[in-house]
């Protein structure tokens, strides 16, 4: 009986020493998965995932607190990439968080804008230009379409409009799938 306890405890202590040593000696700070997840997210920073931005959501996914289907701007493509990265099965977008829409950009109606700077404070990517009491303008190329600037505007002068498609942005349509049922 004693021999059993001693033998196994000794073994465990040795193992404990080894692991304790290894834990310090081989410590790694950052969780590389978070970076990888963050890279996949669309960086719209819209908060529809219920996290204050893409990175916090990435952290939540890495910790296993959030599911991978909560980012509407990313849509199927992001879910698929996350599933690939994390070795899970892809699932449909959780509609509680919103729908996947075509990309929009904000446009400020400069005739109406009163220059209150409220939208500037809301924009997560600092892409609204202007100063107090001046009309503001959105830098179209940098706007992520998160719509966060829309609600704060006291005079409702911000519209979300679809991104203008250039010829060079055109993508060939996906052919009709061969299995489709033909009437």
């Amino acid at each position: 009986m004693l021999s059993a306890i001693i033998a196994l405890s000794a073994l465990a202590i040795v193992f404990g020493l080894v692991l304790g040593f290894a834990a310090v000696r081989f410590r790694v700070e950052e969780d590389p998965v978070v970076d990888q997840i963050d890279k996949i997210l669309p960086q719209t920073q819209c908060g529809q995932c219920t996290y204050p931005g893409c990175r916090p959501y990435a952290e939540a996914i890495a910790k296993g607190e959030a599911d991978i289907n909560q980012c509407p701007p990313g849509g199927e493509a992001v879910i698929q990439s996350l599933a690939d990265l994390l070795g899970r099965d892809a699932k449909p977008l959780n509609e509680d968080h919103g729908e996947h829409k075509d990309k929009l950009v904000a446009v400020i109606d400069e005739q109406v804008c009163i220059g209150c700077t409220l939208c500037i404070q809301a924009c997560p990517v600092d892409c609204i230009l202007g100063a107090a009491k001046q009309m503001h303008t959105v830098i179209e190329d940098e706007c992520t379409g998160c719509e966060l600037c829309v609600p704060p505007c006291p005079v409702d002068c911000i519209d979300m409009v679809p991104v203008k498609k250039e010829l060079s942005d055109w993508t060939w349509p996906f052919p009709e799938t061969p299995q489709e049922k033909k009437p």
């Binding site: 893409c54 493509a77 400069e110 404070q121 230009l129 992520t144 061969p178």
Partner: protein
């Protein structure tokens, strides 16, 4: 004449030519249409920028849109008349989308711009001068891709290249414009070739022509002077689609393979189309920019298929009518050949520089066959000239696995269509590949945008953090000041400390001033500042009585000031 040793490119197909039907008549000049529609972008690269306004009168050959960037090409009026609009019009593009075009109402005089100047003897010009002339003439590859030709006339770091190939293969069925050109105007082709050779300092030239164009071969050979035969050889290549593909032709003529995803230039070879050569001849020797080209108008739906020399900008309907066309709405109208061209949805679109053929095919006999699933029979791989596995590319394109599809070398696909031609399951393979390619590009673009957004977001977080710290610091200082004011003189005033304090106060004062202004105008990039400037400019034009004009608002002044001194 020695017979040239030939090699074989992998894959490929022997197709029915259908070329004779459009080669009955000589090339004629097409009728002048009442309106010419000239898209600003008819080439690979950046669109040109219009240099005329609606209402301007223009002469044939006059520059109406200037090349914007290095990879870009100018556009010239292809007849004389008046610019009536610069607006969105349908253009020949697989998307069926519109794009900005200059619309000219012709005056019927077809008057050349008197300023056009022949450059005289090309041999007196050096390579870069030649390239400038060709560039200004708006010449792009007429073989299909429409890549600005002057770029391809740059011999690269070595200063000279080994071999200049003129591509006269014209391997696609139905098309005969190059054949007619070679047959009727062999000298133009050869003269253009010599100019190109001069620009490239090429050691040797080959003109590759498929053996189904014996007349063209005879004409070219006949036109060569004894001297020219020393460095130019007209080579008959077997008729096998796509022998006219640049890489395939190079393989057939030299046995060399252009390395995957590289340019022929990398192995000391440059390849141009025969019509491009003729256009170069026109530009250099006659001073005429690219305003027209030979176009094959053919197909079973025409009474009189033929080749016409068409002014760029002429609507399809106009040229088709000249060939006896009775449109039915279920016809197929294709720009380019049946293997590589794209179907167009309207006959209002104009002929552009890359329009080598307009094909009016009847509607398919049967209702178009149902695409069945791929059975992995491998026929497609057998005929693929790029030695790809189209069945695998299809599988991954179908499943939108964009990584795997690149693993399988999607970008080596030349979209020749051989695979789809033979597929027993009738799968539109090429469309899947084009879908995947464009999708990859667009995702890369998205990725770049999202990276930018991440940077800017992180930057903003940093800024907010800093502001928070600053604010705390200010409050602390304020308190300290208050304490001091209350006369707590526990310490003797230290001059050093006082100096620091003064500095801090200054900083604070400035910060406060800044806070009351716009918050996010620090750390701007050049582009953003440019954007701001543009916006301000726009406002100046826009506003008559704004709530606050930049010029009268002192804070706005300070904004501009800070912009300059803080960066």
């Amino acid at each position: 004449m020695t017979t040239h040793k030939l090699w074989r490119f992998p894959g490929g197909l022997v197709l029915d030519g259908h070329k004779d039907m459009s080669m009955q008549d000589a090339v004629m000049i097409a009728d002048l249409p009442p309106q010419l529609v000239l898209p600003l972008q008819q080439h690979i690269g950046e669109p040109a920028v219009a240099v005329v306004k609606p209402g301007d009168r223009v002469l044939k050959g006059q520059l109406i849109a200037r090349a914007q960037d290095y990879v870009s090409a100018s556009v010239h009026a292809s007849s004389s008349g008046q610019v009536i609009a610069i607006e969105e019009r349908p253009i020949p593009h697989p998307s069926g989308q519109n794009a900005t075009c200059i619309v000219i109402e012709t005056d019927g005089e077809d008057r050349w711009d008197p300023d056009k100047t022949p450059s005289g003897d090309y041999q007196t010009l050096d390579a870069s001068e030649l390239r400038n002339i060709i560039r200004d003439a708006g010449i792009v590859g007429l073989g299909g891709a429409g890549f600005p030709s002057f770029i391809k006339l740059n011999p690269g770091a070595g200063g000279s290249i080994d071999l200049l190939i003129l591509n006269g293969a014209e391997c696609e069925p139905y098309i005969s414009c190059d054949a007619m050109l070679m047959q009727e105007r062999p000298r133009e082709v050869i003269d253009g070739l010599k100019i190109m050779r001069h620009a490239l300092q090429a050691k040797y030239c080959l003109i590759g022509v498929e053996d189904n164009k014996p007349d063209a071969i005879v004409a070219l050979r006949g036109a060569l002077s004894a001297d020219e035969t020393k460095f130019i050889d007209v080579v008959t290549v077997p008729t096998r689609y796509p022998a006219g593909g640049e890489k395939q032709l190079i393989k057939v003529l030299t046995g060399k393979e252009v390395p995957s995803q590289r340019l022929p230039l990398d192995i000391g070879i440059v390849c141009h189309n025969v019509a491009t050569a003729a256009a170069v001849h026109h530009a250099v020797t006659l001073g005429e920019p690219l305003v027209s080209r030979v176009v094959t108008i053919t197909g079973e739906n025409l009474e009189q298929p033929r080749n016409l020399e068409v002014r760029i900008g002429t609507p399809f309907s106009s040229v088709l009518q000249q060939c006896g066309w009775h449109p039915k709405s279920n016809d197929q109208l294709v720009m380019g050949g049946p293997m590589m061209g794209f179907a167009v949805t309207s006959d209002a679109i104009p002929v552009v520089k890359t329009t080598n053929c307009i094909l009016a095919l009847p509607a398919p006999q049967r209702p178009s066959p149902v695409a069945m699933p791929c059975i992995r029979c491998g026929e497609c791989a057998r005929v693929c000239p790029a030695l790809l596995l189209p069945q695998q590319l299809y599988w991954y394109s179908w499943s939108k696995d964009l990584d795997k599809v690149q693993d399988h070398k999607l970008f080596d696909c030349i979209e020749c269509g051989c695979c789809a031609y033979v597929c027993p399951s009738n799968i539109p393979l090429v469309q899947y590949f084009r879908f995947a390619k464009t999708e990859i590009w667009s995702q890369e673009k998205e990725k770049r945008k999202s990276d930018l957004a991440r940077q800017r977001h992180e930057f903003r977080l940093e800024r907010l953090e800093k502001e928070k710290q600053d604010k705390e610091e200010r409050q602390r200082l304020k308190k300290e000041k208050l304490r001091k004011a209350r006369g707590e003189k526990s310490e003797t005033p230290d001059p050093k400390k006082a100096a620091i304090q003064a500095a801090l106060d200054r900083v604070k004062a400035r910060k406060e001033q800044q806070d009351s202004g716009a918050r996010n105008v620090e750390h701007l990039t050049d582009a953003q500042r440019k954007a701001i400037a543009e916006v301000d400019e726009r406002r100046k034009h826009l506003k008559t009585d704004p709530p606050a004009t930049p010029s009268t608002d002192p804070q706005a002044e300070s904004v501009t000031e800070k912009k300059t001194d803080e960066i």
